[in-house]
Symmetry: C2
Subunit: 368 residues, 2 copies
DNA sequence: CTGAAAGCGCTTACAG
DNA sequence: CTGAAAGCGCTTACAG
């Protein structure tokens, strides 16, 4: 279907080249002097009590500048770094959060993750990252493991927003913020986007082009977000008094061609398609190529979830753009606030706006 | 340059909707009974000593099946989970590794990260993820923070393989494996790909099409990997006795059009382009559109680093595909071996093969 | 097979 | 401003 011919090459060697060990690596590793310096060591060297060192590190007031200087110098000499594990044991915050997404290789989630990571770093937080592979049991296990690590809070893109494990987890003491979709069986903070309204705008745009038979194609139709988009699509058509066809649900790549062929040979052959998510859009685009139907000419297309390369496709694809970096930043900030206890209201659902990026697959022409 | 017209919408509301708190969330959180159970609690409930519980958890031999059963039941009753922080303090492995990449939003790195994450999970490891944003000082800080957390090992895509901080870090006790490129100032394990040979195959393919004037375009030319690819390009042309033009180095998006215009108006106007990395390829593609030059017809293009959507572009782009998931998996496995001490040889450099995915931008025609 | 003691490296009260 | 004591939750020797 996609036109790739892989060429093999004789030079494709898999080589493991041992490098001559010119550093004293092994010795260094075993050297006992290399053992990490502790608070005690620093205290001894600086000639003070352990508490004074601790206070200096934590910027407590009530340490004479004089002593602080001595301590700092000792710290530098020994290259001392506080042991995080010991700190956490005394009830300190771990200064870490967990992030669990379905698939890191998906552009949308990787952009969200990058933003989360950056926001966390700015606050001195480290982030655990895990991918659930769309498997609720993996998700539950990872959340568990993180909570007991422990982390100060968790950012989660829930695969199944009704899974019972969420009930237990949200009742616990670790704050949780969900990204992209809220949890349906408990009240937690969530940050998402205007799915329904976004779908409406995309479909309205197609209607504006004069299309009457608009089909909807989607994958992952069990997700609340996708359901919302489909609702938006239906609302819009109902409002315009146009016929609503049942949404074409694609489960896998193999479904695509048969389903599309059937759709186009039916007497309800559509003149426009609304793809409710990017996977559906990509599959539709591939299928249309296969079927020799030119987008923006034989058939119009508008998608939900804009992917950068949609601009590079011919013709460029019109799509609803989600503010992925904002989603990451906002959710991370909200979680950090919860952790610090700065934010004590009840759960909030934040809904971010989306915008339609009009290109050419919908039938619009490029302005020169 | 890219044709996007953002439409604003009146309904683009940013709404923060407080949800009525119908769960007893707050009470639960403060409830002291909710405090995590400890080893001691379990021991008391099971009527045994703490050690017995510890041994049961860790599957030590020498625990009578009878006692073990009682302990396990107590664990279940109290929903006990060992505190990781306490364990680590007694010198146990943390069962976590760190991964630092330049940019998580980059497809190549996000695919690598996903694979690393998965491999780690299969071994019960959790992974810290950080992005350096191509800034060596951020990279150094994150490595530091992870090492002192502590983590058992670190996977790193070094931004500057000569940065002096690497000297210190690699001399330490935490094993480090670099991905994509080795460190130049110390001997550590690394897992990368055949950059030079890959470039050669791509350029040879262009030569095979009869092109004589082949230009090379690249970004991030300070990276060893890119240098290698450029060397491969030059070797190949030298071998074919064709003129070698100086590599066009693009620093930012704004450089592209001026540089390309100049390149094409010079008397050495190329008939083919080798893009040494995906960013360069994308910029070149955009520029060619702008210049109304059709790939595979007016100009041939082959790129290093295949990106999924290259197949969806018109014409589909011919590119050297790197085994990103393997890169992630292999490096993670190698690191885990080092951590367990299973692997005690000196540092190894692993080089994975790449393959050319021939599509149409090079001038090949799609087989029907 | 089982448990009491000591300690991992830090911090929180408590006394100076 | 500073320090000695106790404890966070576990595990490693050491004795039964």
């Amino acid at each position: 279907m996609s036109f790739k011919y892989i060429l093999g090459f004789a030079w494709c060697v898999f080589s493991v080249i041992p490098i001559t060990q010119n550093t004293s690596e092994v010795n260094v590793r075993k050297s006992p002097t290399n053992k990490r310096a502790t608070l005690e060591d620093v205290a001894r060297l600086a000639g003070v009590g352990a508490m004074t060192v601790s206070r200096t590190i934590n910027d407590h007031p009530y340490v004479s500048e004089e002593t602080a200087r001595r301590v700092r110098s000792a710290i530098r000499q020994l290259d001392y770094r506080p042991n995080h594990a010991a700190r956490m044991l005394t009830g300190q915050l771990s200064r870490s959060i967990g992030l669990i997404v379905p698939d890191l290789a998906d552009t949308f989630f990787s952009v969200v993750s990058h933003a989360v990571q950056e926001t966390a770093r700015e606050s001195g937080y480290l982030v655990w990252l895990a991918a659930s592979n769309y498997d609720p049991s993996i998700e539950a296990a990872q959340v568990e493991q993180m909570i007991h690590h422990p982390v100060d809070g968790i950012l989660l893109v829930p695969v199944d927003s009704k899974d019972k494990y969420l009930k237990t987890v949200t009742a616990g003491t670790t704050p949780i913020v969900t990204i992209d979709r809220p949890i349906e069986i408990a009240a937690t903070d969530s940050v998402g986007v205007e799915n329904r309204a976004g779908a409406r705008v995309a479909v309205e745009h197609l209607i504006g082009h004069g299309h009457k038979k608009i089909a909807c194609v989607a994958t992952n139709t069990h997700l609340v977000t996708i359901k919302e988009r489909i609702l938006g699509y239906e609302e819009c058509l109902r409002h315009a008094k146009l016929p609503i066809s049942k949404t074409l649900r694609l489960a896998g790549r193999d479904d695509v061609m048969p389903a599309m062929t059937e759709l186009f040979s039916s007497r309800n052959r559509p003149d426009a398609i609304f793809a409710a998510n990017n996977a559906a859009a990509i599959w539709v685009i591939e299928a249309l190529r296969e079927m020799k139907l030119e987008m923006g000419k034989h058939i119009a297309l508008a998608a939900f979830d804009d992917v950068d390369f949609f601009a590079l496709i011919t013709p460029p694809v019109t799509a609803v753009r989600q503010p992925a970096p904002e989603l990451g930043r906002m959710s991370a900030r909200l979680l950090l606030q919860r952790i610090k206890g700065e934010f004590v209201s009840s759960s909030v659902r934040t809904v971010l706006p989306v915008s339609l990026v009009v290109r050419e697959s919908c039938g619009c022409k490029k302005k020169e």
